[in-house]
C-alpha cells in the first residue's frame, strides 16, 4: 500500500492580516492540515509573481496567496495593486497550461482564524484531488540530471 499523496503548499501571506489570522487560528487551538508552509511578507503588494514561480520551481504542488480584505491594507492600497497583478498572472498561467486551480488567492483578516483553518483544509483537499504537479516536476527533474555529452 502506497501512502496517500500529501501535497506541499506554499502560502505567501501578509503580516498584518493573514499572518495574524493564522496566529489566531493557532492560539484558538484550531486544527488544520499540516501541508502548508507559510512565508510572511510585509504586504500582498510585495508579492511578486516571481515568488509563486520560485515555489513551483522548488517542487510545490500548490501556492496560496493571502492578504488583507480590500480597504484594510496597512499601506492603504497594496492589496489593490496585488489584485490586478494576480488577475493578469492567473490568465497568463492558464494560457500556458499551469492550472489556475494550483494557485489560489484569498482575503483573510486578523480576526478570521476560523476562516484561515477552513481555507487551508479546503485548499489542501483541492490540491490533493489534483494530485502532484507531475508535469512541472518532470521539468525540475530534467535540471537535476547530469548533462550527457
Amino acid at each position: 500500500m502506497s501512502e496517500p499523496f500529501e501535497p506541499k503548499i506554499i502560502a505567501f501571506v501578509c503580516t498584518y492580516c493573514t499572518y495574524a489570522g493564522a496566529d489566531l487560528a493557532g492560539t484558538s487551538r484550531l486544527k488544520y492540515a499540516p501541508n502548508v508552509r507559510i512565508v510572511r511578507l510585509p504586504c500582498t503588494g510585495r508579492i511578486s509573481p516571481m515568488f509563486l514561480l520560485k515555489a513551483l520551481q522548488k517542487g510545490a504542488d500548490g501556492v496560496l496567496v493571502s492578504g488583507c480584505h480590500p480597504g484594510d491594507c496597512h499601506f492603504t492600497h497594496g492589496n489593490y495593486h496585488a489584485r490586478r497583478r494576480w488577475m493578469v498572472f492567473r490568465s497568463l498561467l492558464d494560457f500556458l497550461g499551469i492550472s489556475p486551480e494550483r494557485v489560489k488567492f484569498s482575503w483573510i483578516s486578523a480576526a478570521e482564524g476560523g476562516k484561515f483553518a477552513d481555507l487551508i483544509n479546503s485548499v489542501t483537499e483541492d490540491i490533493r484531488k489534483l494530485g502532484p504537479f507531475d508535469q512541472y516536476k518532470e521539468l525540475i527533474r530534467e535540471t537535476e540530471t547530469p548533462a550527457t555529452l
Binding site: G71, K104, W107
Partner: protein
C-alpha cells in the same frame, strides 16, 4: 513611392535646418523583401531611405539607446501606428520626452503605403483611439484557435514543446521596444529567480516572466516574434495578455502620454471573482 519621396524630402529639410540630429528609418536589407534600420545623419544617407510595405519592424526601441536623447536635440523616426503607441508608453513611463521625437507616421494596406498626418506623438491620438474602438479579431489564427480548445494539460504539453526549443538568446528581449531595463531580471543572480541553464524549466520561467512584464504594455508590433530564431509563437502570449487587460481593465496600451501603466494603478471596483 510618393510617400517615400515626400518623406525623403522632409528628412532632408529637417536635417538642413538642423531641426533633427538624426532620423531613424529603413533601408534595403540583405534580401529583396527585407528592410534594416537606417540611421540618417547626412543627405547621402537620406537617399538610402526606403519606405514600402516590407518596412514592418518597430524602430521605437532605438530611441531609448543610452545617451541618444540626453543632449535634448530632436530625433526623427519612421513609425507605424503600433510604433506611435510605443512612444506613448515610453513617454508615460518617463523613458523619453515625446517633444524630442519627430514622427514620420505611415501605415500600409497590402502593398500600398500611406502617410499619417502629424509629427508629434499627440497628433495621432485620434487615430489610436479609433484603433481601440476596433477590437482585434479573436482566434483568427488556426493555431491560436487550437490552443484555446486544449485542456490545461494539453496546453502545458504544447508550450513545453515550444519552449523546449528556446535557446535563451534573449533576442525577444533585445528586439522589444518595451524591454529597456538596464539590468533584466533574468541577468540578476542574487537572488536568481530564473534558471538560466539550458533546460525547459528555465525556458518556461523566462517566457512567463517576459510575458508578464509586457502585460498591458505590449502593442503587438511583432518584433519578438520575428526575432525568435526557433519560431516560438510569442505573439499569441502577448496578445492574450493585451486581451486580458482590455477586457478586465479596459486598458489599451499606448493611447496617450499620460496613460497610467495598468499594473501600476488600480480601481477599487476591479473584479475579484477568483479570490476566495
Amino acid at each position: 513611392m510618393i510617400t517615400q519621396e515626400k518623406y525623403r524630402t522632409r528628412v532632408k529639410e529637417l536635417l538642413a535646418s538642423n531641426s533633427v540630429k538624426m532620423v531613424i528609418g529603413y533601408k534595403q536589407g540583405s534580401t529583396a523583401d527585407r528592410r534594416r534600420p537606417l540611421f540618417v545623419r547626412s543627405f547621402e544617407e537620406a537617399d538610402e531611405l526606403v519606405l514600402d510595405s516590407n518596412c514592418i519592424g518597430n524602430l521605437a526601441g532605438y530611441l531609448v539607446t543610452e545617451g541618444l536623447l540626453s543632449d535634448e536635440k530632436r530625433v526623427g523616426i519612421f513609425l507605424r501606428p503600433e510604433g506611435i503607441r510605443s512612444i506613448n508608453i515610453l513617454a508615460a513611463e518617463s523613458q523619453l520626452n515625446p517633444e524630442q521625437i519627430i514622427i514620420f507616421g505611415f501605415d500600409t494596406s497590402g502593398r500600398e503605403v500611406k502617410a499619417l498626418q502629424g509629427e508629434q506623438a499627440e497628433d495621432f491620438s485620434g487615430l489610436i483611439d479609433s484603433l481601440k474602438e476596433k477590437p482585434p479579431e479573436k482566434s483568427s489564427d488556426a493555431l491560436l484557435y487550437r490552443i484555446d480548445q486544449m485542456n490545461t494539460e494539453e496546453r502545458f504539453a504544447f508550450w513545453k514543446d515550444e519552449f523546449s526549443r528556446c535557446i535563451k538568446c534573449y533576442a525577444c528581449r533585445q528586439a522589444c521596444p518595451m524591454c529597456y531595463c538596464r539590468r533584466c531580471i533574468v541577468d540578476s543572480n542574487q537572488p536568481q529567480w530564473i534558471n538560466t541553464s539550458s533546460h525547459t524549466l528555465g525556458n518556461f520561467e523566462w517566457n512567463i516572466v517576459r510575458a508578464f512584464h509586457l502585460a498591458g504594455r505590449c502593442v503587438g508590433c511583432g518584433n519578438c516574434d520575428r526575432a525568435c530564431p526557433v519560431n516560438i509563437p510569442l505573439r499569441f502570449i502577448n496578445a492574450r495578455m493585451a486581451q486580458e487587460v482590455f477586457e478586465s481593465f479596459d486598458h489599451y496600451a499606448g493611447t496617450s502620454q499620460t496613460q497610467e501603466p495598468v499594473l501600476a494603478s488600480f480601481n477599487k471596483d476591479d473584479s475579484e471573482t477568483f479570490i476566495l
